[in-house]
Symmetry: C2
Subunit: 208 residues, 2 copies
């Protein structure tokens, strides 16, 4: 029983990516053998090598699946016209990011793999750049939005858009890493929305 239909083949490809995620998450990337992944997907290594050049290619495919939609979602809020105050757009965007991370275990697993279960050397050195790039563009984006807030007089006086942006940039990265590194019993995830609110409150104009 071989030679499936095109749709079935695409299905096994997807199942291989799911299996890879589970195995990567459990064993770490380097200790994840293609044999384990194949078995977890209910196929043999032959199938893996048919769909992917090697383990790195599988990893990239898995990553791409969740990374792109994530950026789209948060950007949609960041640049949304529905907020009269640009600071609200930033707050909503960051909150949405962590909401997805909290609610969707698939996304969370992929982020956990990328942050604490993969060694960024050799073939995977480029992955670190792929992760750093969105972070860089995120900085540029929120700096622009902070400038809009400043132009509207909605940014706290004495605070420059660039300083505010860099601080938010570091804050977001920090929350992400602390959240993914925190052990199971921690109540950090629940507190994240409040932390984001408090963070943004520091750059809002004081109530009259």
């Amino acid at each position: 029983m071989v030679r499936k239909t095109k749709e079935e083949a695409e299905q096994t490809r997807k199942e291989l990516i799911q299996a890879a995620r589970r195995v990567f998450h459990q064993c770490g990337v380097s200790r994840s053998t293609l044999e384990k992944i194949a078995k977890a997907a209910g196929v043999t290594r032959g199938a893996v090598y048919w769909h992917f050049k090697d383990k790195a290619a599988l990893f990239f495919a898995m990553r791409e699946d969740v990374f792109v939609p994530m950026v789209e979602r948060t950007d949609a809020l960041l640049f949304s016209e529905q907020f009269t105050n640009p600071l609200d757009a930033i707050e909503a965007s960051i909150k949405e990011f962590f909401r997805v991370l909290e609610d969707c275990s698939v996304v969370r697993e992929v982020f956990e793999i990328m942050i604490s279960r993969c060694e960024y050397v050799d073939e995977f050195a480029s992955v670190q750049e792929d992760v750093a790039r969105p972070a860089q563009t995120f900085l540029a984006k929120i700096e622009g939005v902070y400038q809009q807030a400043a132009a509207k007089g909605m940014l706290r006086p004495g605070l420059s858009p660039l300083d505010a942006a860099r601080d938010t940039w570091a804050f977001t990265s920090g929350v992400l890493h602390l959240m993914l590194a925190c052990q199971k019993g921690s109540d950090l995830p629940q507190r994240i929305p409040d932390m984001i609110s408090a963070h943004m409150a520091m750059r809002r104009c004081v109530a009259p």
Copy 2:
């Protein structure tokens, strides 16, 4: 030629740790074979197994060497009596942390290994807790110092010590990760002191 003197043996132990750091940093922990490390130290695997139980033990020894002094240095500033304003103590402590990280390549390499060249599964799962613990205690420490600042009326009105502490906590973690993930050409390291100043300025009382 074997059976060195006690001092010579201690020396090879230290050289094994240095070699492990170089090899871990270059190859990642999982691809660092004890053969490579031994050769880099000018000995054979026999020497490695004599001094360390296995690769994980070598890793822990390497980590301990730089982690403990780092905490001592920053705590000394954080709890120093030389600052009349507690916020200055926090600022000095965090700046010192990143100054060491920037100036001392040994420390930086170890942090880079722990953050982006090690997979936190199985024997190394505990490492992640070891890294998370100082972060947790750091949060508790700066919350205390922020409370002192509030008691002295030096914390910006409307800002709670706990919110300030959590925000600084995330900020510090974020800067650390962004700094270690940034590619060679980036000028982020130079800007870190200014980012810290700007971060702390947001929680100081406005000048009269």
